[in-house]
Subunit: 254 residues, 2 copies
């Protein structure tokens, strides 16, 4: 028996998120099916980030246990032959038998991308949120700085969460404007790194920073929104299509 770690990239458009749900096509379900077929035993992966319906990933992480003799580092190549083109395993390797991707300390990076211009751009439509009203990126960046640190993020958490402890630490939060990505407009990226995120947290951060970018909320108000510990205090949940899980760095030896 060995434990194998996978780094998994996917375009989330066609999936009802990561986590297995009866009667739904999810990334976890497709991985379980492909791995079980490949290895000839029933495989159930444990995912690090249970991304929502429509959210994308460049490097989510999953582990599973297997008795198969196939070397761990060869599994990625064989598995990709059995996966649809919108899910691609980037790496497979053996890890310690007690390595658990949700219990191990890690830094997760997410990006929320906003195409900010007058008209949508077809080649961007699947993995950016189109928003036509001009955004003040400097104000968004100031607001983002108040989120950095260890805070109770209850205001930035869906009321449908199962988490009791809503304290999390954000290590960095940058708002970057790329003026060269498209003609007459720009791509605004909210890049956030932290130890872990609550249900809908990055999308609520994005929705709140968009309100700041529109001048509807003063940047310094972010401090009050955090203190309120009330979902109603923050902005709306920005659409899933703009969100991408960029990758996870584990602190402990895996």
């Amino acid at each position: 028996m060995k434990r194998v770690m996978l780094v998994v990239a996917y375009e989330g458009t066609e999936y009802m998120g990561w986590q297995v749900q009866p009667g739904r096509v999810t990334v976890e379900h497709v991985l379980n099916q492909a791995l079980s077929g490949l290895l000839g035993e029933e495989i159930r992966v444990i995912g690090a980030s249970r991304t929502d319906s429509g959210v994308h990933s460049l490097g989510n992480v999953a582990v599973f246990d297997t008795n198969a003799r196939m070397p761990a580092d060869k599994i990625s190549y064989a598995l990709n032959q059995r996966l649809p083109e919108d899910i691609v395993v980037q790496q497979s390797r053996e890890v310690a038998g007690d390595f658990h991707p949700r219990k191990c300390k890690s830094t997760k990076t997410y990006e929320y991308r906003i195409l900010n211009r007058r008209f949508p751009m077809p080649t961007f439509r699947r993995d950016t949120y189109f928003y036509y009203r001009p955004l003040d990126v400097a104000a968004m960046q100031e607001a983002a700085s108040y989120l950095v640190g260890r805070h109770d993020f209850k205001s930035f958490c869906s009321i449908h969460t199962q988490a009791r402890d809503t304290v999390r630490e954000i290590y960095d939060c940058q708002v970057i404007a790329d003026e060269g990505a498209v003609p007459e407009g720009r791509l605004v990226t909210i890049r956030v790194q932290g130890s872990g995120f609550l249900y809908h947290m990055v999308r609520i951060i994005a929705g709140t920073l968009i309100q700041v970018g529109l001048g509807e909320v003063e940047p310094a108000r972010l401090k009050d929104i955090l203190e309120a510990r009330d979902r109603e205090a923050a902005g709306p949940t920005a659409p899933a299509c703009g969100l991408t899980m960029m990758g996870i760095a584990f602190e402990e030896k895996s």
Copy 2:
């Protein structure tokens, strides 16, 4: 009667290219249908760049004549309501009655994007060409410099061309590596600007520069390939999915 110019963006994946062909779904056909429905008369657009099947655009240009009273600058908004989400008109405005987008002097910009890493990345698969062997970008850049200027590009033109004169001018050709676009790998962009391009010209340039990036062709060989005036001397035609028509700047007053 007035002549209206459209700037048109599209993801080419689902289309058999720009130009109307019997029994095929093309961008030109979809535009003609939507415009005819909107304006209540039969409209036929004239396109600037007749992009191939699977090629994308951020800013192709088309013109058409209409007797409709709708102001030219309002047509974009109304037309987008009738277009599928993979075709979006970016601008509409009235131009001189004799303005012809293929006869007027212009600078066209194309980008050919290569995802150069070990595994494909799902969110990049529609508008980049995935190539796993590492490319020497400095060698590609040197090779690209030999293409700049006024040359006979017969070696870089499909044998199925209808063009008799194969002399064209390339104003600039840059090969740019973006190391931050993806983890463990990079996005290599060939950006080429010129007065006009022959059939398959940018894709043959890309296929040849990839051979240079692999070390199979010396950069200085590009001079010999140009002089040969023979399609067999150049590299293969790189796949359509990597190519995007970025935009067109007209020199004459439109």
